[in-house]
Amino acid sequence: MEFKSKDFTDAKRVLKIRGLTVGLTGRPNADPVLRGIDLDIRAGETHCLVGESGSGKSVTSLTAMGLLPKDALEIQGGSIDLEGIEITQAKPAQMRALRARRIAMIFQEPMTALNPVLRVGEQIEEVLNMHSDLSRAEARARTIDMMEQVHLPDVERIYAAFPHQLSGGQRQRIMIAMALILDPDLLIADEPTTALDVTTQLQILKLISEMQERHGTAVLFITHDMGVVAEIADTVSVMQKGRIVESAPIRQLLTAPKEDYTRKLLQAVPNLDPRAPRAPAEARDVITVDGLEMTYGGGGFFRASQGVRAARDVNFTIQPGRTLGIVGESGSGKSTVARAIMRLIDPTAGKVTVAGTEIAKLSRRQLQPHRKHFQIVFQDPYRSLNPRWTVARSLCEGPINFGTSRADAMEHAAELMELVELPRDALDRYPHQFSGGQRQRIAIARAVAMKPDLLVADEAVSALDVSVQAQVLHLLDDVQEKFGIAMLFITHDLRVAAQICDEVLVMQKGVVVEHGPAGEVLAAPRHDYTRNLIEAAPGRLWDFANFRALDRTAPATGATL
C-alpha cells in the first residue's frame, strides 16, 4: 500500500516539546503521568501519536492546549514551544488568545463535545466573536462559508440546528469548522473518528487532509487505530506508560519497528483475512431466527406516527461451536437483533427458537426458566458489572436463581476464574479494582456461569485496546471450543469479524444485505454496501502483524513472525 513519504525537515517547526513531565497535582513524588516527552511537528505534517489507553496520549494534547485539569494534573518539568511562545509559562489570558487562533483541537465524541443547548452555527460563530472584531453579519457570513468548506449540506438549515438533530459525521464536520475557522497553525485531533462509522471515518479523514493541504496546518493526530495511522501519518510516535518509546516516519515504523513494544502493538492488530470456517460441534441448530421484525415507536395520541423499522425479515441459524457475526454501521439494526433475541426488547414479529423453545412471544414469567440458555456480554465492561457487588456475587447470582446451592455456585465461580485466567482471590474484589480487559473477562465468566447454549456478544471487544482485544477474542474462542457454545457476535469492526466469525451477516438500515461464510463475504463481497464497508476500512491492504503488505493470493494465517 501507499504511504505518505514527504520530507518535512525543511518545513517550519510549529510545535517543539522537550522533556515534558506531567504528574499528579501536589504530589511531586508520585509516579508521573508523562515522563519526559520530546515531540516535533512541522507545518503541513501529520504526526500520529499512538498507544494504548492510559499511555498519556490525551494528557500530552491537553497539556499543549493548556487544558490540564488543574486540581488533578500539573506540569512538573520540560517545555512546550509553540512557534516561540512558551506554553508551560503562559498566563490564562495569553493561553485563551492562542487557542483557536494558533492551536485548535477536535475531540473524539462529537455528540458530547458540542453544547447540546446552543445552535451549532452559533457555536462556530462564537470563536469569531471571541477572537475578532467582525460584525454580526460578517461573522455569520464567515461561519456559513466555513460550513460550506467542510462540505456540510444545506448550510442555512444546519446553521440553526442543534447538535442532536445532526448525524455523527455532520457533528464532527461542525467541530472541524469550529477548530479551523481562524486558520490555526496546529490542529490537535484526539481520536476524532473513533466514535464514527467506517464510511463516515473515511470522509472525515479525507476532510482533515483536504483542510490541512489548503491551509498548511500541522496536525497532531491521536489514535489507537493502526489502520488510520497507516492511511494518514507522515510520522508516528508510539507512547507507552507516559513515554515515547519510538518515533519514526510511517513506512519505517510499519516495516521495520525497532522497539519490542511497537512490534507487540503491531502484532496485535487483526488483519482483514477471514478465518477458516469451523465445522459445527453438533449437527443441530442452537438458535433459529425466522422472519424477525422490530419496529420502534408508532401510534401516538394526537398524531399517528409510522415508527422506525429497525429490523426487517432477519433469518439465520447457528450451530454449536460456531460463530455468526452481524456487522453493520450504527443504526443498521444489529444491536436491535441481539436485544430481540435476548428478549431485552419484545420483537414485533417473527420467531426465535433457542434450544428447542420458541421464545419470541413468551411472557416474562414463561420466559424465566429459559433465560439460562442464552446469555449476553455487553460492550462496556465498566458499566455492565454492578460496582457495589463482589465478583463472586455477580458470578453466583444467576446459578443461585436457577436452583444451584450457594456452595456449588461458589465452587463453579472459582473454576470460572481459572478459565478466564484471573486469580482465585479476584472473587472477593470489586469491579473497579480490575482493568477493562479483566472486567470483560469477568463479564464473560458471568455469562458462561449459566452454562448457556447461546452466547451473544454485543460489541464485546470494541471498548478494549488491540492487545487486550486479541486476548479476549482468544478467550471467547477457548470458551466456545470447551463448551460447544453457539455464538452471535455483533460488531462494527470488520477486522474483528474476520478473526472470530465462521459466518457473517451484513445489515444496512434494518435489512440483511448479505449473508454467507465469512471467507466469501469478506473476501469477495457481492453487495455494494459490503464492498463499501470493506473499502472504507483503513489500512486494509497492510498486514500489520507481519510488517508487510497483505498478500491477496496467499492469505496470512495470523500473527507469526
Partner: protein, 313 residues
Amino acid sequence: MFFYILKRILATIPVMVIVAIFVFLLLRLTPGDPAAILAGDAATPAQLERIRDSLGLNDPLLVQFGTWMGQLLRGDLGTSLLSNTSVAGMIGDRLGPTLNIALMTIVISVALAVPMGVIAAWRHRSWVDFLVMSFSVLGFSVPVFVIGYILIQIFAIDLKWVPVQGYKSPTDGIGPFFSRAILPSLTLATIYIALIARMTRASMLEVLGEDYIRTARAKGVRENVVLFRHALRNAAVPILTIIGTGFALLISGVVVTESVFNIPGIGRLTVDAILARDYPVIQAMILLTAGIYVTVNLLIDISYSFFDPRIRY
C-alpha cells in the same frame, strides 16, 4: 409544542377534580354531623337546621357534589362561618400580600443563590465553595422564626432602617412596600437560597465536567462565558425544578413569617381558620394551594423545553 402545552393543560383538569372531590368529602365524611362540626359546640337545633339547609345536607351525596362543584365553577367558595362574609372575597383580600412577599422572596433567592452556586462549583473545594456550603447548611438548620427575630432585632430595632412589622401594598408606593417587605422576604429567602445554591452547585459541577465545556475552553472562550452561556443553561433543569417547587411551598409555608411580621396574608388567614374550624375557608385554602402547585408545575414543565431544545414532546 402547541400540542404539548395543550396536553399538559388538559392533564391538570383530572388533578384538580380529584382535589375537589377530596375537599368535598373532607367535610361530608368526617364522623358526626357536618352541620354540628360547622356550627360548633354551642349551636342551637335551629342553627343546625339552618346550616344543614344552606349546605344542602339533606340531598343525596351526588346532588350535593353537583351543587358544590357548580358553585366552585362560578367562583363561589362559600361563606365563612366566622365572619359570615364570602370566602372568595376574604382570600382575594389576603392573596395580594402573600403573593407579593412570595415573589420578592423568589427573586431575592434566585438572584443570590444562582451566582453563589455557580461560583462555588467553578471554584470547587476552594474557600468560596466552603463559604457557600457553610451558609447553605446554616440556612437549612436555623428555623425561620429565629432568622426573622434576629433580622428584626438588627435592622428594625437597633439600626432602625425599616419598620418592625406590618404591610403596605405596592400601590401605596414602592418605598413603604419595600421597607416592610424586605425583612420577611429575606427571612423566607434564607432556606431557598440554601436550597437553590446547593442545587445550582451540584448541577453545575456535573455540567462543568462535560466534554462541551472542554470544547468551549479549547475555543478560547472567556471563563464567565463558559460558566453562564455554556454551563448554566445545561444545568438549568434541576435548578428550575427546585425553584418551582420552592415557590409553591413558599405560598403554603408563609404562615410563620406572616405571624412574625404581622402581615395580613393567606398564611394567617389559614391559621385563623384552622383554629376556629372555619371549614369553608379551610376547603378553599386547600383548593387554592393545590391550584398553585399544579399551575407552577405546569409552567416549570413548559419552561424546560425553552432551556433545553432536546426536550420536545
